[in-house]
């Protein structure tokens, strides 16, 4: 019997790297050799992680990958948290890749849906972020990872700065399992400001032809916040934040939560809530938080990623943000998602559709957008055992072994701006599942995890319902004149109000006539800049040129 080798992966990696040695100067390869390098280092059928998160894209490497010879590199199994750029999908049309595991496909949602339907692409799973990261260590261990760094020193140490995001979790999955770590660098320097990824974990560095793509995804211009959103924000502050004594929170990316951020220093202050609620945040550094930070509401913020324009402000507020010795923020998407799922009192988000049972999804007809971080933040890990007042406040009183629950709040207007009802009998996602032949209906947040729904009509305290039938009636009561809402009648509403399962604005002391834009701590981007003492630098598309 021949002796089995236990180092086959290790040997294969070494032999691949030896094959490209002539192109390399230490760990460095010339920009113009990048295509040849990928053709030599990536084998047909390899599992390849291409870094692309909400904001930061390894855009140079994705372009190079799309240019390789499909005769040499084909049928790759791509693993990407976010499918954002056209070439992310082009590679499936040319045969370079054939299978995809992903989490989010916002900008490419229509095309990806078609490609799955017509068989151009085979989908493994649509994951939550944490599921995807976790599986990099289990059954999706990558052969090659392609990531982006701001600066790289001569030893290959990476500086990823405010936009570190998911680089560490990706790189670690390859570096310690004989995967090949290939980095595109904005800049090669003698000394990095700090080491975000040790050079020891890095195999190849390529100077990119231009800096990686970076989007200001979480910036919301207060000018676009409506009075309806302000009303809902006031209701949420009174009927949820105050009522449940919420201390830690994640806000989704919409205008509803931006409104809340801008109401804390005004409406929250009037209610005497300052110092009592939401000191601790897991959230991207959204500019609309600046007034709440400056007026002393927010004590700490950990972030999944950076936000364009916030760099200098953050550098001057290290008491609030996670900031390195070099003065720039450190983000970490995997830890952020972990905190969001496991450490927070509450998640507040928005969605495009909610069904009669309370399941919600952003996947609508023909658009497979994926689900982003909401399923992690917006779910209740049943193993938790928090003692915080908010978590405990959802504990049923009639069960001696009962436990609390994370608050998962969906804030929606009953009709979208397209005048389509948000409350529906059946989610479009059910149909999308059939068309795209998915294992699971792409629901973003499940009914069982949803504890509150806020609409302009009122708040449904779903955690207080004791049957699915009662849950449905509570949802109908706040669903306005949508087909779902029209099933509600005045007698049911009166009963739900009497039992505290539904609250209308007047039940929690919210005056609709106070829901005015003047109640926002900042009404324009300029106001936010003023609050920041000039430290916030809005991206061009958010500047007014008047």
């Amino acid at each position: 019997m021949t002796k089995r080798s236990w180092t086959t992966n290790h040997d294969a990696k070494n032999s691949k790297l030896e094959n490209v040695a002539s192109m390399m100067d230490g760990k460095f390869v010339k920009t113009e050799n990048a295509k040849e390098l990928l053709e030599d280092l990536i084998a047909p059928g390899d599992k390849v992680v291409l870094e692309g998160d909400n904001q930061k894209q390894a855009s140079f490497l994705s372009k190079v990958l799309a240019s390789v010879d499909p005769g040499k590199v084909h049928d790759l199994h791509m693993i990407m948290s976010s499918v954002s750029r056209p070439e992310h999908l082009d590679i499936f049309e040319t045969g370079i890749a054939s299978k995809l595991d992903f989490s989010f496909a916002g900008p490419q949602s229509t095309r990806i849906s078609q490609m799955i339907a017509d068989g151009t692409m085979n989908v493994g799973d649509i994951h939550t972020y944490l599921e995807l990261y976790a599986r990099l260590y289990v059954d999706l261990i990558p052969n090659v990872v392609l990531v982006a760094a701001d600066k790289v020193d001569r030893d290959g140490n990476l500086y990823t700065g405010a936009n570190t995001e998911e680089t560490p979790v990706i790189v670690e999955s390859a570096a310690f399992k004989d995967g090949i770590v290939i980095v595109q660098a904005n800049e090669i320097v003698d000394e990095v400001p700090r080491v975000d990824i040790p050079g020891d974990w890095v195999d190849v560095v390529v100077q990119a032809d231009q800096p990686y793509q970076l989007e200001p995804l979480f910036t919301r211009d207060p000018q676009n916040i409506t009075e309806l959103q302000i009303l809902m924000g006031m209701m949420a502050i009174r009927g949820i934040y105050e009522k449940h004594n919420v201390q830690s929170v994640n806000h989704g990316v919409g205008f509803n939560t931006a409104a809340i951020e801008l109401l804390l220093p005004t409406y929250g202050e009037q209610l005497g809530l300052k110092g009592k609620i939401v000191p601790n945040w897991e959230v991207n550094p959204t500019p609309t938080l600046i007034p709440a930070i400056e007026s002393g509401w927010v004590k700490t913020i950990h972030s999944f990623g950076g936000e364009v324009g916030m760099e200098n402000y953050i550098a001057h507020r290290p008491d609030i943000f996670f900031v390195g010795k070099d003065g720039t923020m450190r983000s970490n998407r995997a830890f952020g998602q972990m905190a969001g799922q496991y450490a927070l009192d509450m998640f507040v988000g928005s969605t495009l559709q909610i069904d009669k049972y309370g399941n919600s999804s952003t996947v609508t007809n023909g658009r497979l957008s994926g689900l982003g971080g909401a399923p992690n933040m917006g779910s209740n890990p049943t193993g938790r055992r928090h003692s915080t007042p908010a978590w405990q406040s959802l504990r049923p009183d009639n069960d001696p072994l009962g436990k609390g629950q994370k608050l998962v709040v969906q804030m929606v207007e009953t009709f979208g701006s397209n005048k389509k009802p948000v409350f529906v009998d059946h989610l479009d996602a059910e149909e999308v599942r059939k068309e795209a032949k998915l294992a699971n209906v792409p629901i973003m947040i499940y009914s069982e995890d949803t504890t509150h729904i806020v609409t302009e009509e009122g708040i449904a305290y779903l955690y207080k319902t004791d049957s699915m039938a009662e849950r449905q009636i509570a949802i109908e009561a706040v669903a306005g004149v949508t087909p779902v809402g029209l099933r509600s009648n005045p007698k049911q509403l009166a009963d739900l109000r009497a039992r505290g399962i539904v609250a209308l604005p007047e039940d929690i002391g919210v005056h609709r006539s106070e829901a005015k834009r003047s109640l926002l701590a900042a009404q324009t981007m300029d106001d936010i800049v003023d609050w920041s003492d000039g430290l916030y630098n809005p991206p061009a598309k958010f500047r007014s040129w008047s």
Binding site: T226, E227, L228, L231, E413, T414, F415, G416, S417, K419, T455, E456, E457, G480, V481, L486, P490, H511, R512, S513, A515
Partner: protein, 99 residues
Amino acid sequence: MEKLHFSFDTKEPIQKPVHVGVVASGDLEVIFRPTTDTKSDINIVTGSDGFKEVWQNVLDRFFARYPIQANIEINDFGSTPGVVNLRLTQAMEALKDEK
């Protein structure tokens, strides 16, 4: 543009006129005027055609909750039902404040 008219049998006459909201994109103005009639007449001018049934539903709900007797004029520029209901209920709050 579409002109709509609705009528409801009501019994709580208002005493003073009220004006809420502005005609701006996604918004509307709502004007309540006292009436000597025994019903409420609602005249709507809307920039979004084809939503008569939704208006009917919004107004059914509103008058079930607040059976005020008034002449109501609505000038709408593409509001969602949520915004319509906000303006109507804000007008109710304004009526109460004036009492």
